[in-house]
């Protein structure tokens, strides 16, 4: 499952997409809208995506992850539009035979997503807003 959605992400569905009788570990990462950034109080987030290219990049990251860690399953869903504090903006699920590869593959997938998937984040504060880039 690779998707960009404009409503709340169903984390359980993302996790269920990677389940397999051969897997001993399922690791689910949720990137969640948090109420602060660089000392500023954040009221809400807004995500914008270049959707068709984002999907291509997410598919490429999933394929690369499966190639590096043979046998793992990967699902990734990113949200667009307004995202309230506490809600996930991205969910990545990885299933693997053993936990070591689940942790490595999951970390690789989220790091790559943050580096190259064309999605932009606007933080809203009490007194304005700003587009915030990921640290490279």
């Amino acid at each position: 499952m690779i998707a960009v959605v404009d409503q709340a992400i169903d984390t359980r569905a993302v996790a269920d997409a990677v389940r397999d009788r051969r897997h001993g570990a399922v690791l689910v990462f949720e990137g969640v809208a948090r109420d602060h950034h660089d000392g500023k109080q954040v009221v809400s987030l807004f995500y914008e995506a270049y959707v068709p290219m984002a999907l291509r990049e997410m598919e490429a990251i999933a394929a690369d992850t499966r190639a590096r860690w043979a046998g793992v399953s990967v699902a990734m869903v990113h949200r667009t539009g307004p995202c309230a504090i506490g809600e996930p903006s991205v969910v990545i699920a990885v299933g693997a035979a053993h936990r070591g590869e689940a942790y490595e593959a999951s970390r690789h997938a989220i790091d790559e997503l943050k580096r190259r998937v064309p999605v932009w984040k606007r933080e809203h504060y009490a007194d304005g807003s700003a587009w915030i880039a990921n640290k490279v």
Partner: protein, 75 residues
């Protein structure tokens, strides 16, 4: 040649538009198109043509979809 340009994030705010179809001289590069659109050269944008990241010096072709990518913030 005719090229479709789509704008996102800070560039959408500046241009007040989501997408436009423009006529550009043959041989115009991605970076050339960026300058031609009057966008601030100080912005550290990357370029995507037909959803592939390309260097700024890449020459555009008729029918291309061109997107200027500000630094991403997904996740």
């Amino acid at each position: 040649m005719r090229v479709v340009i789509r704008y996102f994030a800070a560039l959408r705010d500046i241009k007040h538009r989501v997408e436009e179809t423009v006529e550009l001289p043959e041989g115009t590069t991605a970076l050339g198109a960026y300058a031609a659109m009057g966008l601030p050269t100080a912005l550290p944008v990357a370029f995507a043509v037909n959803m592939e990241r390309v260097p700024g010096g890449t020459a555009l072709a008729h029918g291309d979809e061109l997107v200027f990518l500000p630094p991403v913030g997904g996740g």
